[in-house]
C-alpha cells in the first residue's frame, strides 16, 4: 500500500459506477434513441430509421436550424456581456471602496434567485402597458423610450440579454474577484512606477494572471448558454412567434408532442456542439496558462 495516499483507489469504483449509470449511460442511450422512431405511441416497439431524424431537423419547415443559430448567438453575446461587465465590476470592487462588501453582496444576490422567479417578475416589469419599466419611463418624462420589451422583434433579444446579465453578472464577478486577489499587488506597483496606464496594466498584468478565472467563467458560461432554457421559457416561451426559440425550447416542445426520437436527436446535436466548444476552450486556455 502506498502510505502517501489518504484513501485506497477502490474508493473510486462506487462513484465511478454511479456516475456512469446515472450520467453517462442515459446520454449514450439518448444518442442511440436518436436513430429510432421513438414516439409516444411506440410502447416499447422501436424501429431503427438511421439519420432520418437528423435530416428532418436540418430540412424541416419548422426551422430548427434557426433555434441552433439562436442558441449559439445567445451563448456568444451573453458571455461577452457578462464576462466584460463582471471583470470591470470585480476590478472596481477590488479597490479600497467604502461599503464594497455591501456592493458585492447586492451584485451577487440575483444569482441565487431561481430563474422561474426572475422570469415571472421581469415578465411583469417589462409589460408594455402596465409594466414597472415603461411606467417609470413615463413618470420621468422619458415616455419616448417605452418599448414592447418582450413582443417587439427588434427588442426582445436585448431584453433577454438584459435579464440574463442581471442574474449572471454577480456570479461571474465573484469568480473574477477570487482570481484578482491572487495577483500580487507588487506587480501593479511596479507597473505604476514604470508609468503604465490602467489599460496597459489590464492587458499585461490582470488578464494574463486571470487565465484560470477566465477559463472557469468561459466554460461555465458557454455550457450555460448552450443549454439555456429557463429564462427564455418563462419570459417568452420562444416567442413572439418563433423569434426566441432555442434548441432546448424545441426539444421540450417535441418531447411534449410525443416525438421523442426527434427530441433526443436535437439534444444530441446540442451535446456535440457543447462538447466541441468546451474542448476547444479548455485546450486553448490551457495553452495560455502553460505559456504563463
Amino acid at each position: 500500500m502506498n502510505k502517501k495516499k489518504i484513501y485506497p483507489q477502490w474508493f473510486l469504483i462506487v462513484p465511478l459506477v454511479l456516475y456512469a449509470v446515472f450520467f453517462l449511460l442515459p446520454g449514450v442511450l439518448g444518442v442511440a434513441y436518436s436513430f429510432t422512431d421513438w414516439n409516444v405511441r411506440s410502447l416499447g416497439e422501436l424501429n431503427f430509421i438511421g439519420l432520418d431524424n437528423y435530416i428532418e431537423i436540418f430540412t424541416s419547415d419548422k426551422n430548427y436550424t434557426a433555434g441552433i443559430f439562436n442558441t449559439l448567438k445567445f451563448t456568444v453575446i451573453s458571455n461577452i456581456i457578462k464576462l466584460t461587465t463582471g471583470l470591470f465590476l470585480a476590478i472596481m470592487l477590488k479597490e479600497k471602496l467604502k461599503g464594497k462588501s455591501i456592493y458585492r453582496t447586492l451584485l451577487y444576490l440575483p444569482s441565487v434567485l431561481p430563474f422561474l422567479i426572475i422570469g415571472l417578475i421581469f415578465k411583469s416589469v417589462l409589460n408594455y402597458n402596465n409594466g414597472l419599466l415603461n411606467t417609470f419611463l413615463e413618470f420621468i418624462n422619458l415616455g419616448f423610450l417605452k418599448q414592447k420589451w418582450l413582443s417587439d422583434l427588434s427588442v426582445v433579444w436585448k431584453s433577454i440579454y438584459g435579464v440574463d446579465a442581471w442574474r449572471g453578472i454577480g456570479y461571474v464577478m465573484t469568480i473574477f474577484l477570487a482570481g484578482l486577489n491572487t495577483i500580487p499587488q507588487s506587480y501593479y506597483d511596479a507597473a505604476s512606477i514604470d508609468g503604465a496606464s490602467f489599460w496597459q496594466k489590464l492587458i499585461h498584468i490582470t488578464l494574463p494572471n486571470l487565465t484560470g478565472s477566465i477559463t472557469i467563467n468561459l466554460v461555465f458560461g458557454l455550457t450555460y448558454g448552450l443549454k439555456v432554457f429557463d429564462i427564455i421559457y418563462v419570459l417568452t416561451n420562444g416567442g413572439p412567434g418563433h423569434a426566441t426559440e432555442v434548441v432546448t425550447t424545441y426539444v421540450y416542445q417535441l418531447y411534449a408532442n410525443g416525438q421523442y426520437g426527434l427530441s433526443v436527436s436535437l439534444n444530441t446535436i446540442l451535446f456535440v456542439i457543447t462538447m466541441m466548444i468546451g474542448l476547444l476552450v479548455v485546450k486553448y486556455m490551457g495553452k495560455q496558462e502553460v505559456q504563463q
Binding site: 474508493f11 409516444v40 419547415d61 413582443s151 416567442g239 413572439p240 412567434g241 423569434a243 418531447y255 408532442n257
Partner: protein, 460 residues
C-alpha cells in the same frame, strides 16, 4: 483497522440511501399490462372506504389557468372538510399546460386528477395512451349528469374516462359596448369584414382600442380563425370530412387565407391594441368597465362579470365574429374535461371527488361561484341556471341552420392538439416572418405527424 471499517460502513450507508432515494413509485407501465392492477391493489386496501378512511390524504389536481380558477374553491373546501383530506390544486399557466401535462404523464408523476381541453378526438390524440393513464369510470352514476352531446368528449367507445362540467353559453363571440357604440353613432353591429373595418376605424378615431386581443395568453388570438369553422364548411361543403379523411388540407384553402389576411390587416392597423402580442386578458373586465376598448372576444356570460367587477352602467351586447363575412354560430360541444390519473395512489379518493362534484349542491356552488358563466351544461333540473337576457336575445337572433357545424378545432382531427403551435405561427405571420399559407402548411404538417403517430390509415 477501525478507520477502514468506518469508511466501509459509511460507503455502504451512502449507497443504500442513494438506491432508496432512486426507487420509483409504481407507474401504470410497471403493472405488466394488467389494466386494473394498480386500481385493484388500492381498491383492496380501500374496499370499505368511507369519509373517514381518507383522512389525512392529499388529492392533487393539475389544471390549466381558466378551467377551474376560483369556481371550485367552495366545493373543494367542503370536500376537504367532508373527507378530512387536503386538496392540492396546481394551476399551470395556459401556454405551459400542454407541455407540462405530457411531461408528467410520460414521466409517471402526474397529479391524481388532470384536465384536458377535450373534444370527440382529443382523448386519443392528446392523452394517447388513455388506457394506461386514465381511470376507467364506466358505470359511474355521474355519467347521467353529462349531456348527451358532450359524452363523445368524455368517452372512447363505450368506456367512460372523463367528466366535463362546462357551460352552454355562446363561446368566444364578440362582446361589445352597446352604450359606447350608440354614443359614437355606430348603428348596427358588423356582420361583414368591411363593416367591421368601418366600426374599428370609428372606435380608433375616438382613441379607443377597437378590438382588444390578448395575445400574451398564448391561446386566445387563434380563436377568430377557428371559431368561424362554419363559414369554411359553407364555402366548401364537406370540408370537415375531407380534412378528417386527409383528402383536403388547410394549405391553399382560399377562405382560410382570406381570414388570415384580414386578421393581419387588423393587427397592422393597430386595431387589436398597441401591443396586443404582449397583452393578456387578466384585466379585460376593467378594460371594458373603464371604456378603453370597444369590443373583445369572450363568452357571452362574461357580460355579467364585467358588470359585477366594474359596476359599469353601460350595456353590452353580442355578435358573431365577422371575419370572412362569417354568420355561423360557434357550436362547440366540447370543453375542459377532468380525468382520474390511473397511477394515482388514491383511486377511491379520486372517485369520491368525481362523485362529490356532480351532486346538485356542488354543481350549484360551481355555477354560483363562476362570475363569468351564467349556466352549467348538466342534466340536473334542480340546478338553478342564470341565463342573461342578452344571451337569450342573441341566441334567438341566430337561425338553427347556422348552428349545425361545430367549430373547426372540434370538428376536425388533430387540430386542437396543435393550437399553441398555430398561435405561435399566427404571431410570426403578423410580425412578417411567415407567410399566411405557411401557417396553414404547418398545421397540415403537424396534423400529419399526429396522424402518423396515431397510425391513422387516412395518412398512410
Amino acid at each position: 483497522m477501525k478507520k477502514k471499517f468506518m469508511s466501509m460502513l459509511l460507503c455502504i450507508t451512502m449507497i443504500a440511501i442513494m438506491l432508496t432515494g432512486c426507487s420509483s413509485n409504481p407507474t401504470p407501465e410497471n403493472n405488466d399490462g394488467n389494466e386494473t392492477s394498480a386500481l385493484a391493489a388500492s381498491e383492496s386496501k380501500d374496499s370499505d372506504s368511507g369519509a373517514g378512511d381518507f383522512a389525512g390524504e392529499t388529492l392533487s389536481i393539475m389544471v390549466s389557468q381558466g378551467w377551474m380558477d376560483n369556481r371550485y374553491d367552495e366545493t373543494i373546501a367542503r370536500f376537504e372538510e367532508t373527507y378530512g383530506v387536503t386538496v392540492d390544486l396546481q394551476t399551470i399557466p395556459a401556454d405551459q399546460y400542454d407541455d407540462m401535462l405530457q411531461s408528467k404523464l410520460t414521466g409517471g408523476t402526474c397529479a391524481d386528477i388532470f384536465w384536458i381541453q377535450s373534444n370527440p378526438f382529443a382523448i386519443e390524440s392528446v392523452i394517447v395512451d388513455y388506457e394506461n393513464y386514465c381511470i376507467n369510470f364506466t358505470g359511474a352514476q355521474w355519467k347521467s349528469v353529462i349531456p348527451e352531446a358532450r359524452l363523445d368528449s368524455c368517452m372512447v367507445g363505450d368506456t367512460l374516462y372523463g367528466l366535463q362540467l362546462w357551460h352552454n353559453s355562446p363561446e368566444y363571440v364578440m362582446i361589445y359596448n352597446k352604450t359606447l357604440f350608440a354614443e359614437l353613432d355606430i348603428e348596427s353591429t358588423p356582420s361583414t369584414y368591411t363593416e367591421l373595418l368601418t366600426v374599428c376605424e370609428t372606435l380608433a378615431a375616438a382613441d379607443l382600442t377597437p378590438w382588444f386581443m390578448p395575445g400574451a395568453d398564448g391561446w386566445q388570438h387563434p380563436l377568430p380563425f377557428f371559431q368561424i369553422g362554419g363559414v369554411y364548411e359553407e364555402t366548401q361543403p364537406g370540408l370537415y370530412d375531407a380534412l378528417n379523411d386527409n383528402t383536403a388540407t388547410f394549405a391553399d384553402n382560399e377562405k382560410m387565407l382570406e381570414v388570415l389576411t384580414q386578421f393581419k390587416e387588423l393587427s397592422d392597423k393597430g386595431y387589436f391594441g398597441e401591443d396586443w402580442i404582449g397583452s393578456d386578458s387578466t384585466n379585460l373586465a376593467n378594460e371594458f368597465g373603464d371604456r378603453n376598448i370597444g369590443m373583445a372576444m369572450g363568452n357571452s356570460s362574461f357580460i355579467q362579470q364585467i358588470k359585477d367587477e366594474t359596476e359599469t352602467q353601460d350595456e353590452f351586447g353580442l355578435f358573431l365574429i365577422p371575419l370572412g363575412d362569417n354568420d355561423t354560430f360557434p357550436t362547440n360541444p366540447a370543453g375542459p374535461t377532468m380525468f382520474g390519473y390511473k397511477g394515482t395512489e388514491h383511486p377511491e379518493l379520486v372517485k369520491a371527488f368525481f362523485d362529490f362534484v356532480c351532486t346538485t349542491q356542488s354543481l350549484q356552488e360551481i355555477l354560483d361561484n363562476s362570475p363569468a358563466y351564467t349556466n352549467i351544461a348538466v342534466n340536473d333540473d334542480a340546478v338553478e341556471q342564470h341565463w342573461l337576457p342578452e344571451e337569450e336575445e342573441f341566441m334567438q337572433s341566430i337561425s338553427e341552420d347556422k348552428m349545425l357545424t361545430s367549430v373547426l378545432q372540434t370538428g376536425t382531427k388533430y387540430t386542437n392538439d396543435y393550437w399553441m403551435d398555430f398561435a405561435a405561427d399566427l404571431v410570426a405571420y403578423c410580425q412578417g416572418t411567415m407567410e399566411a399559407n405557411d401557417v396553414l402548411k404547418n398545421m397540415d404538417a403537424n396534423r400529419a405527424t399526429a396522424a402518423e403517430v396515431a397510425g391513422d390509415e387516412a395518412w398512410q
